[in-house]
């Protein structure tokens, strides 16, 4: 069963087509990384999934039911744009209100549980407005986790979190999907972080889904390359440009050869031309580079 099945979804704001014939399939139990540039239609799609925006056309099914079905919607946890807390109330009161909204049985125990999950049990008595950005984000996650949701839709949940906060959230996400029935959709620009947890990806551009794949498929389609350094980088570059079709310099200053070759072949070739290689390794491009390549029109 798919947790989310979207067919031909569209949404227009005035003359701007925000989402245009979008198809999206999120399998149950997946952590779905929803990626796209600013203004590509990610948040609009997420808002439509959560029923916060009327859909322009197409259909959305959540766990096989129409997205307007009350029973399935009561099992959706949301963090979109902001956590949605009352600034004058404490973290505890905000969570208790949300628990009451969701008719959560044993609300107090449930609130304590979610606070522990996001490591916020010590800050329950703090007024929400006095919380730091990272704490607010964690309160938002705690709110979304209340009521044992089957689907979590999280828009930029990693924003404002420190390294420890991100690690905690990674653990939370992996824990949530462990039983195989719960699903998470995460949109984030922190692709390196996303790659650590996502099992599936959807890449959206100009309101259309341009690629949808599993983490394994992404791994297979990410090109390998040979990265090297030598005593004379300028000459090495010249030589490599003459022999290979795609050679680039990365941010660290290493030369990358993307053609199908081996380190041995490159070392031999450079040695024959009087160049001594100081370091060489084979690696794969990550999600971030794959995404940038895709946006530029490449194939990863």
């Amino acid at each position: 069963m798919n947790a989310i099945e979207i067919k031909n979804l569209s949404k227009q704001f005035g003359s701007k087509q925000a989402v245009c014939g979008l198809d999206m399939t999120v399998p149950m139990g997946a952590i779905y990384g929803f990626i796209g540039e600013n203004g590509s239609g990610k948040s609009t799609t997420e808002k439509m999934i959560c029923g916060l925006l009327p859909i322009g056309g197409g259909s959305i099914k959540l766990y096989g039911k129409d997205y307007t079905d009350e029973s399935v919607r009561s099992k959706v946890g949301v963090l979109i744009e902001s956590p949605g807390c009352f600034p004058g109330l404490t973290v505890w009161d905000n969570l208790m209100l949300q628990a009451a909204n969701l008719s959560v049985p044993n609300a107090e125990q449930e609130v304590i549980k979610v606070l522990k999950t996001v490591r916020m049990e010590g800050a329950a008595g703090n007024k929400y407005k006095n919380c730091s950005l990272g704490m607010k984000q964690r309160v938002g996650i705690a709110m979304a986790l209340l009521g044992n949701p089957k689907l979590l839709v999280l828009d930029e949940p990693l924003n404002g979190l420190d390294a420890d906060g991100m690690r905690i959230l990674r653990e939370v996400f992996l824990d949530v999907v462990r039983d195989g029935t719960r699903t998470i959709v995460i949109s984030s620009h922190l692709l390196g972080e996303l790659q650590k947890v996502a099992t599936h990806y959807g890449i959206i551009r100009h309101g259309r889904m341009i690629a949808e794949m599993t983490a394994d498929e992404l791994d297979a389609s990410c090109r390998t390359y040979v990265a090297l350094q030598s005593g004379d980088m300028d000459r090495t570059k010249q030589l490599l440009f003459g022999k290979f079709s795609r050679v680039e310099t990365d941010a660290a200053g290493d030369l990358r050869v993307y053609d199908a070759t081996t380190p041995e072949e490159i070392v031999t070739y450079l040695y024959e031309n009087g160049i001594c290689v100081t370091s060489i390794r084979t690696d794969k491009i990550g999600l971030e580079e794959y995404y940038i390549d895709l946006m530029k029109g490449g194939k990863g």
Binding site: G51, K65, E81, C85
Partner: protein, 269 residues
């Protein structure tokens, strides 16, 4: 084997109960609610005492030299409406307009702030992500607004009685009975949904723009404000009560449906 997920439907009663629980809990923790109640209690008290103290004071217009004698209240119940045989629109004193009926406009501050805070804080977004039925939201806000309005009316009545006692005003009902007073208050309380549903509609349309909802509500409320004194006089009978109850229900249902449609057709974030 593929995992299977089942979803249990939630009854209307359960959904409404949870929403009411949240709204009443929020209302009782809101500073604004207590400020409004305090205002409703203190305003008639101060007005009655101060106007009594100023009774008979002569002020002279420096330009025209015309003398004006300040007229204070003579009876405590003037805070609630015009007594039988009392002056009406022709010779209006300050209590002709500034009486308990102001609470019908005062409650708009509570309703507008209460609803706009939902949208400003993002609470509405969290709520509508898990609740598809917008009707319950409207019902819950209307009931919270009506309760606040009713409590403000009662606070104003208490303030008036206290003010009258402090100022030593008469409590004579001029031929009316305590039942008339009770019916008058009941009629006012039952009329409250008319105003609250107007304010709710304007607030859900204005969403997080508090200033717009308050201005719109004051404007919308003013259109019906004059009818309050006609529909809920001090000499109210059961007919007035039934009329106000019917009007309150009709407005709440009709405008509630419009508010629901507004929420359904507009973006919620």
């Amino acid at each position: 084997m593929e995992a299977h997920v089942t979803f249990e439907p939630i009854s209307f009663r359960k959904r409404l109960k949870s929403m009411l629980k949240v709204d009443f809990r929020r209302m009782l923790r809101s500073g604004l609610f207590y400020i409004l109640l305090a205002c409703a209690l203190v305003m008639p008290l101060l007005m009655t005492v101060m106007m009594t103290m100023m009774d008979g004071t002569v002020s002279v217009d420096p330009q025209t030299g015309v003398e004006t004698v300040m007229q204070g209240p003579e009876n405590t119940w003037q805070n609630l409406g015009t007594l039988p045989g009392g002056e009406t629109m022709g010779g209006m004193d300050v209590f002709g307009m500034c009486n308990i009926n102001m609470m019908f406009m005062g409650v708009c501050v509570f309703v507008c702030c209460f609803i706009s805070e939902d949208f400003r804080s993002g609470y509405a977004k969290n709520l509508f992500a898990v609740r598809t039925k917008k009707g319950e939201y409207v019902i819950s806000k209307t009931l919270a607004g009506v309760l606040c309005g009713a409590l403000m009316l009662i606070a104003y009545l208490l303030g008036s009685v206290l003010g009258g006692a402090i100022a030593g005003l008469s409590f004579d009902l001029h031929g009316l009975t305590a039942l008339h007073l009770v019916l008058c208050m009941l009629a006012k309380i039952f009329l409250m949904p008319v105003f609250v549903s107007i304010f709710t509609l304007i607030s859900v349309a204005a969403k997080q723009k508090t200033w717009l909802s308050i201005c719109g509500s004051l404007g919308g409320g003013m259109l019906l404000f004059m009818m309050v004194s006609i529909l809920t006089p001090l000499a109210s009978t059961f007919f007035h009560v039934v009329l106000c109850l019917a009007g309150g229900c009709l407005f709440a249902v009709g405008l509630g449906a419009v508010s629901k449609a507004v929420l359904k057709r507009t973006r919620l974030v």
